[in-house]
């Protein structure tokens, strides 16, 4: 049984439809990478799952419980937490205060302050600093720690590597297996196809709001994925890797 299940999801903004019948499954402790060009609907899909955006149609379930109609503030309690694009920490709060925000409403789970500081030593070192004053990489670590503090069943990571040096990004991907080992399912959005395939057990490629391709990362044909990434108009040999 899958931890997160998305069926026939349609969503958009105003008159603009961004998602057309998207379906997705995430098993317990599994990492799935979501790839696609800019505007393919990756962030929209994460927003709809996290509750920031109300879908027009479709169904989202977590551990077989239907959360489609649940308001945003209940999603974290239901076990779905988003690490938003651009990190969006509470800038005037200290690092530790940021991490304590989900604590009052969370279900029981393994992510105590101590466990989070153990996972990200840099967060422990900066615990009393104001979040707005941290570097991009430090902020990203705090954003992931804040999301984990809610003891989620499903962690949604939106473009963790955005604007960060490759070496810093490596440390985040190095930590993902430890998060997975604690039973957290991860759905991550990543521009870099090679990184996405290396970090995940399955890849889902979105194209103009539809699932263009999905498959096991280990056996997926990279050329076919690149073609799906760009759609029918893409020329052969074009590499979609966006340098960090």
């Amino acid at each position: 049984m899958s931890t997160l299940s998305v069926r026939g999801l349609e969503a958009g903004y105003g008159d603009f439809q961004a998602l057309f019948g998207v379906g997705l499954d995430l098993a317990s402790g599994e990492t799935v990478a979501l790839v696609g060009a800019n505007g393919a609907g990756k962030t929209t899909l994460l927003s709809a799952i996290a509750g920031a955006l109300r879908p027009w149609a479709g169904q989202i379930t977590v551990d077989a419980a239907d959360i489609t109609a649940q308001p945003d503030y209940q999603r974290a309690r239901a076990g779905v937490v988003l690490v938003p694009e651009g990190r969006r920490l509470f800038g005037s709060l200290t690092v530790e205060e940021n991490i304590l925000i989900p604590v009052s409403s969370r279900p029981a789970g393994p992510w105590t302050l101590g466990a989070l500081y153990d996972l990200f030593p840099i967060v422990a070192a900066r615990r009393s600093h104001r979040a707005a004053l941290l570097s991009g990489g430090e902020q990203q670590a705090v954003a992931i720690a804040r999301a984990l503090a809610a003891n989620p069943a499903v962690l949604l990571l939106d473009e963790v590597s955005l604007g960060l040096a490759p070496a810093v990004v490596d440390t985040f991907y190095g930590v993902l297996p430890r998060i997975q080992a604690a039973g957290v399912s991860i759905l991550l959005v990543e521009q870099d196809i090679d990184r996405a395939m290396a970090a995940s057990s399955r890849v889902v490629c979105l194209l103009e709001g539809r699932v263009a391709m999905a498959g096991e990362s280990a056996s997926l044909d990279r050329g076919a994925l690149v073609a799906a990434y760009f759609g029918a108009h893409a020329g052969p040999g074009t590499d979609p890797v966006v340098p960090a």
């Binding site: 308001p71 209940q74 005037s92 940021n98 925000i101 989900p102």
Partner: protein
């Protein structure tokens, strides 16, 4: 010695301004809501207290204790029913809604209580004063300053040290992300507005012990509260105390030279601060 006395009286008056303004400062700091009905809600506090005194036959201080939870509830309900909806409807809606509320309150008070000025009997405290080293320290004025410091200090401590305060500050930083982290914003904002309105009603009542009250006093109350908030810096509670005290001292000291210019001087101080330091004296240094 008169000058020292004037400055002390000015600081006391500033305490009264700050106590009146702290709710306005809190609501703007947390929700970016400019509450144009703030002065009228402060005036409502007086009428509520005199009504409680008459109905229950209790003294001022007992009536104040009865009034505060009522004012908190009124504030929380206003937030849930009116302000939440206004905040969701763009930047102009809160101004229109609170301005409309201000007009309604003023007319409602005239309808129910008539336009006559009424006093609030405070018993012995009305005129009690301490003579200290040539200074005259009226107890009531001192009490307002003490309460202003206590309310601002207490609120700052709540905001800084409790889980409630942490949630308020986080929501003030980023409402959308706060919701995604599991914070229920509606009850949180309701509690903030409840506290703001209770503080305003307390200030309004104490102010009317010295000056009396009539239904049209809300606009003037709002202007001085606004100036204290702007001079001190939007969103900074201690800044509001500083702004109130600067207003008060300016007013009393200038009145010593020429009474008609006293109010003008405080408006000029306000304009000068706006021109030189638009973010206020302690603005942008603190989030709440």
């Amino acid at each position: 010695m008169t000058w020292v006395n004037d400055v002390v009286q000015g600081i006391f008056l500033g305490g009264a301004y700050a106590l009146t303004a702290v709710g306005l400062s809190l609501m703007f700091g947390v929700m970016r809501l400019v509450n144009l009905a703030h002065g009228d809600l402060a005036v409502c506090g007086t009428y509520l207290v005199t009504t409680v005194m008459a109905a229950l036959g209790v003294p001022l201080w007992t009536a104040l204790l009865v009034m505060l939870p009522i004012a908190f509830t009124i504030g929380a309900l206003l937030q849930l029913v009116l302000f939440d909806r206004a905040l969701r409807s763009g930047p102009i809606a809160p101004l229109l809604v609170t301005f409309g509320l201000s007009v309604m309150i003023e007319n409602l008070l005239q309808q129910v209580y008539s336009a006559n000025t009424r006093g609030v009997p405070a018993g012995r405290l009305d005129v009690a004063a301490v003579h200290l080293a040539g200074l005259v320290l009226p107890w009531l004025s001192a009490l307002k300053l003490i309460l202003a410091v206590a309310v601002i200090g207490g609120l700052s401590a709540l905001l800084r040290l409790t889980a409630w305060g942490r949630q308020v500050r986080a929501t003030s930083d980023d409402v959308a992300v706060a919701r995604l982290q599991g914070i229920r914003v509606r009850p949180l904002f309701a509690s903030v507005t409840g506290i703001a309105i209770a503080a305003a009603a307390l200030a309004g009542t104490l102010n009317s012990v010295t000056t009396g009250v009539d239904p049209t006093l809300g606009a003037l109350t709002l202007i001085f509260a606004f100036e204290a908030v702007i001079i001190g810096g939007l969103g900074s509670l201690w800044g509001t105390l500083l702004g109130g005290i600067l207003l008060g001292v300016t007013q009393v000291v200038v009145a010593q030279v020429s009474v008609p210019y006293a109010t003008l001087a405080s408006q000029l101080l306000f304009l000068a601060v706006l021109a030189v330091r638009p973010s206020g004296l302690l603005g942008a240094a603190q989030a709440a």
